[in-house]
Amino acid sequence: MYVQALSGLVDKPRDLPAEQEADGAPSDHVLREWQLVQRAQALEESALASLYSTYYPKVYNYAFLHLGDVHAAEDLASEVMLKLLESIRKYQFRGMPFSAWVFRIARNKLIDLHRRRRRRGEVDLTEPLAAMQISPQALAERALDRGQIQLALKYLTEEQRQVIVLKFIEGFDNGSIARILGRSEGAVKSLQHRALHSLRRIMTAEAR
């Protein structure tokens, strides 16, 4: 698993969805989750509760990193979970992990929210560059913590931010990210490179 391996270097494991084994066969984790999803498709309460407790916090985290606003992130997480419930019977395991399916819903909800905000002429909190008081240089001088990640992400393009959050924070592999974003794996690799490069410039004195 991607982040577990990174965690081997940084000794901080994170519970993230496993994808496929190297031989292409679904891992035990994926199969167990598929069984759980089938029970949830029958609206079995314990299965729904299990999916809810797994995915609400992940989707909230994803939403917060994109929106930077607690209330908006809570609303989006709730909407995503309700949409998950209403659509879960349509989900079929055809190579797309359930987690990627959930995050595809989240990404679509995020797009809808941006559209609504644009329509109402609201300020998009993901693009507050002009209003931000903190410079990239100042960011580079600080230790990296949650707040700085939040600020640094705002300097990235929407797609770069998606890849950083989905790959390095939510722990998806390239294939799943490609499915979530509707891009090719090659495009995801390229975005990953550009995103890390941009983020590095922001986080170091190179941006001066």
């Binding site: 924070i169 974003l181 891009r183």
Partner: protein
């Protein structure tokens, strides 16, 4: 061994994933070690970022809502119509009596819950909804129920459209009725702030939906449509304390979309793209415009042709044109996405699907660029036959500033203007003598304008430029997308279905071709048409229009001077590997 840094970086990230150490990975790529180290360490730091945790109380409250929705689903209720059954229980007997009076047996009522407006059971469905409202005595709850019911009408309209059906008057009338009743209740309940906000936002979304539906109405539904648009618009104003004053008569001839600079005419009236539009604070709220400001306007069109702005969006300071249009064949359909012209386009809940998506269908997709994501705003069937005609020439008839015309004569060709016609007057006013491009289709003996783009409002000449598809030929005469053309001397007619692009002039009402630029047969895949902003011209011959990348080979014909920021119209074909290749590029504007 990967060669590009992108691939090396990805390999190293994957190797770390498998438990390899950072140093081992750097040792394999000594030439890139410094850059790799920096990127990989940043990836490690990102992975260490503590997750933002939701507030437990909020998560628990959302779980209760989730759980209640699951319970509704187990009972077979539709989400928007979930009811507080416990609250209604004391009234069960009375409700049953009321339903009996309505002549609807319980089983019929149950069966009617999924009925669409074209079903005989739809009346029963509406009547059972009315019964629920009658037996709700709390005003706030009643308004909420009416808003739910109004929202159900949105779902019904979307379902009708995706099934390829027209929108009937009964669903519009029911939407208007429920919306108006909810707003009347809420005007006396100023403390119900959440509901007032919901009424305003829901009305805005419903109005947005109706504004693009004129061409999808049953003919008998136009009066109901006008009443519904007026009511939904006024509801937004009334919920902000402004008495709405849009009348159904103002919308009697539908709506029209115009983009261009705004110039003041007389008080309350502005010239937009050379046409008078009333901008009234009683219909718009507090919109304030500056002279010369570029705007997009959706205007109601009264029976007398006069225009009344329903919405005004300022476009200065916006990135140029975030929308683009792709036409072609559906190549694949995935979860929440469709593939057309090799591009994956997201389908969201707000996408207006005007057909049931199927592989192989010809469609036109309006695409929004939402933060770099291609998201479908609408998907509709492309008129397969006859094909699109693009016709450039001088506007020859007088265009009244006071009323919007029903037809335009451009380069000797008469075009019918409908409420679906888009007017793009960003490059000049729509007036006699201006050079314009009309994208149109032949329909029942008329050539119907889909879009009119003013290219230049200075005096145009007599030259005409045509792009279209050859439908038949013989005796020196070709029919190109519904228009008769006297073929150039010695020109051999290409295969039917070929793209024809030519310059010519009118001679006694005949279009005489002088110069033939290109003829191209698209093969079995048909043409993909792409209209939008040119974002990038790559040195490798790859251009990007909107979010669509396509190859522009040396043999492609390019009309005009392309530059990044230009608006272009491209006829493209697919090569054997599925990539798009431009055949003919017309540069419309350089912004």
């Amino acid at each position: 061994m990967p060669r590009s840094f992108t691939s090396i970086l990805d390999k190293c990230l994957a190797a770390l994933n498998q438990g390899e150490t950072l140093d081992a990975c750097l040792a394999r790529y000594p030439n890139h070690a410094d850059e790799l180290r920096a990127h990989l360490r940043l990836a490690q730091r990102l992975a260490l970022t503590p997750l933002h945790q939701p507030r437990p109380a909020t998560q628990a409250a959302a779980w209760q809502q989730f759980r209640a929705r699951a319970q509704d689903m187990r009972l077979g209720h539709k989400p928007h119509l979930s009811l507080n059954i416990g609250w209604l229980r004391p009234l069960t007997i009375a409700a049953a009596v009321a339903l009996a009076v309505l002549g609807a047996a319980g089983g019929t009522v149950y069966a009617s819950q999924d009925a669409l407006p074209d079903s005989p059971l739809y009346r029963v469905k509406l009547a059972s909804e009315d019964a629920r409202v009658w037996f709700t005595f709390d005003d706030g709850r009643k308004a909420e129920l009416l808003l739910d019911q109004s929202n159900e009408r949105t779902d019904e309209i979307m379902e009708m459209l995706s099934g390829g059906k027209s929108v009937s008057g009964n669903v519009l009338s029911a939407m208007r009725d429920r919306n108006a009743r909810a707003v009347r209740i809420l005007e006396d309940q100023p403390d119900e702030l959440d509901l007032v906000t919901r009424a305003r936002e829901q009305s805005a979304e419903q109005e947005d939906l109706l504004l693009v539906l004129w061409g999808d109405l049953e003919e008998s539904a136009q009066d109901d449509y006008a009443e519904a648009v007026a009511t939904l618009h006024n509801a937004q104003l009334r919920t902000t304390g402004i008495p709405g004053s849009v009348k159904p008569d103002d919308v009697a001839a539908g709506v029209i979309s115009i983009s261009g600079p705004a110039e003041p005419a007389v008080e309350g009236v502005w010239l937009l793209g050379g046409v008078e539009v009333r901008l009234d604070t009683r219909t718009l709220g507090g919109a304030e415009l500056q002279a010369g400001q570029p705007v997009n306007v959706i205007a109601a069109r009264g029976a007398n042709g006069r225009l009344l702005a329903l919405s005004v969006t300022r476009t200065d300071g916006e990135p140029p044109d975030q929308k683009y249009v792709v036409s072609g064949t559906v190549e694949d359909i995935g979860d929440d996405e469709v593939v057309i012209a090799g591009q994956r386009i997201a389908i969201t809940e707000r996408t207006l699907l005007k057909l049931k998506l199927q592989r192989g269908k010809s469609v036109e997709i309006r695409v929004d660029d939402v933060g770099g994501e291609a998201v479908a705003a609408s998907v509709e069937a492309e008129q397969a036959a006859p094909a699109l005609l693009a016709y450039e020439g001088t506007i020859e008839n007088n265009v009244s500033t006071e009323a919007f015309p029903n037809d335009l004569v451009v380069g000797g060709q008469e075009f019918t203007v409908t409420p679906q016609t888009e007017i793009d007057a960003r490059a000049g006013a729509l007036k006699k003598g201006a050079l314009a491009r009309v994208e149109s289709v032949a329909d029942g003996g008329e050539i119907v304008a889909k879009r009119v783009v003013v290219l230049d409002d200075k005096q145009g000449g007599s030259a005409v430029h045509v792009e279209g598809v050859l439908e038949k030929s013989g005796d020196g005469s070709w029919t190109v997308s519904g228009v008769e053309v006297a073929a150039p001397a010695q020109a051999e007619a290409p295969e039917v279905g070929s793209l024809i692009t030519l310059d010519g002039h009118r001679e006694d009402k005949r279009l005489v071709a002088e110069k033939l630029y290109t003829t191209y047969h698209p093969g079995r895949r048909g043409f993909a048409l792409i209209r939008g902003p040119l974002v990038r011209i790559g040195a490798d011959g790859i251009w990007q229009v909107g979010l669509v990348p396509l190859a522009v080979p040396a043999e492609a014909v390019i009309r005009g001077e392309p530059g990044e920021g230009s608006r272009v119209f491209i006829w493209a074909s697919r090569d054997d590997e599925g990539a798009l290749r431009a055949v003919y590029v017309n540069v419309l504007h350089t912004d």
